[in-house]
Subunit: 281 residues, 2 copies
């Protein structure tokens, strides 16, 4: 509402352009405001965090939070362009850097085994902010995302795979309280849970579980949810997830060799229960 | 926000359908909520007023008001279908009936002279709620609107002509206070002002001015703005109209024989000033 107030008070008209300069929250908020202001004005994304550069600024999803769940209100609205300047990362706090790397790791797990292997070798360089390593990781992440989104903009299936760990992660963000953990931190713990569940279903072998834990720890990311999270907290938030259809929660799970995943509601509910109980007190 | 709260508390998922049953405000609010809930769910319009049946339910414009102006926040979002049952008009209050007829008259003025002539003959039947007359007027209005919208969904020019009188009308609604006058009442007075200005510019002859006044009076609609409206009130609201581009207010004005109009910012500002002063104290 503050964006709308300012835009209207400044008498911006339909030919104006909104510029989202900042991290993911700024991009999402500014993008949704651009989608709704005067029924839609131009906007440009200039993401300044790893998270926004490798994920949220690309693909046209915009959304704001509701007290009962994350990103429940929004629009599919494409920016005119996304402008990434990796120099902005020089002053990014450590935790923010790591948080963004969670999404980079995600691309490896769901669809790009070769990129995952590159990350296993280059995680120290990424953590040390080696400009070439960062530029490569960001470029390859954007390519992965753009490929998926161009095949499925409105999330009928394929695009949902970009949400590996996010359903568990959103539950953590909502249950633990927004802002307690960064998005990528919650996604990291969520990916561990999704990988754990995939293993319980017998869909992946244990080497993938181990490699996932190793690379997340190398990126100094959490590998378990906060201790205050209960099974009930997970279940109540997951029930209002956007991927629920006809009452059934669909999840992104790994299946097969590294770099393969499925988006499905067809899984043994027992495995989900076991995972929730394994990660909660 | 109440729609979002209820939808989320009820755990509606992406396969749900929002149904807008009611007048224009309900359709606009429900449509915008459907556009933004989970980034877009299905919705159906079941308009129950003449206004909603002949205008607001058709064409996919949805919007909500901001304290500084009308419909400033919204989305272009098409319903799956529009279901019109003219029996709902049997219990519609008199003023609501007349308000809807303002938009019916508009179609005649901007693009359908033959329909305008039909209305001149059949206004008493419409006011008496003759079912056949109403059904014909509603059908022909929807055809006019659908034709315009199918040629120009996102309002690059042609669609704007559907807003004859609306810029003046919005200023009345905002300045006089929402709810004091019905939308069609404000539009009626606004159309008189637009016609007056067109005449001052020398773009139409005086017979059109007279026929406009006559038909609006036959429909028991206002032909002047409320007495409390000042020139300054008009100017301040018109400055934030969605049709302002590069600081220039574009207006829909009649030009040529009955049934012809233009959407332009290329007019003598003196004529606008004269019209505002002629209709305000």
């Amino acid at each position: 509402m503050k964006v709308f107030d300012k835009a209207i008070e400044s008498r911006l008209d339909r030919r104006c352009t909104f510029v989202a300069l900042g991290g993911g929250v700024i991009g999402d908020m500014c993008g949704f405001a651009a989608a709704a202001f005067l029924r839609g004005v131009n906007f440009i994304q200039i993401p300044t965090t790893v998270m926004a550069q490798v994920d949220s600024s690309v693909g046209g999803k915009t959304g704001i939070n509701h007290r009962l769940g994350k990103n429940l209100i929004g629009a599919f609205y494409q920016p005119e362009c996304v402008l990434i300047d990796t120099d902005t990362l020089n002053t990014l706090p450590e935790r923010e850097l790591a948080s963004g790397l969670a999404e980079v790791i995600k691309y490896g797990l769901i669809r790009d085994a070769e990129f995952f292997e590159w990350q296993e070798k280059n995680m120290p360089a990424l953590m040390a902010r080696d400009p070439n390593a960062l530029a490569y990781a960001i470029k390859r992440s954007c390519e992965n995302k753009a490929e998926v989104v161009s095949l499925d903009e409105k999330e009928s299936g394929l695009r949902a795979t970009l949400n590996l760990g996010h359903t568990f992660g959103h539950a953590i963000e909502t249950g633990f309280g927004y802002g307690q953990w960064l998005h990528g931190e919650a996604v990291a713990a969520g990916m561990v849970m999704a990988v754990d569940m995939s293993y319980r279903l017998g869909w992946i072998d244990d080497s993938i579980v181990k490699r996932t834990l190793d690379i997340l720890q190398a990126a100094k990311l959490p590998i378990t949810p906060p201790e205050t999270m209960t099974v009930e907290m997970f279940k109540s938030v997951m029930a209002v997830d956007k991927k629920v259809a006809d009452g059934l929660l669909r999840l992104i799970l790994l299946k097969g060799p590294l770099g393969n995943c499925v988006f499905t509601g067809d899984y043994d509910r027992k495995a989900l229960d076991e995972t929730l109980h394994a990660f909660c007190k």
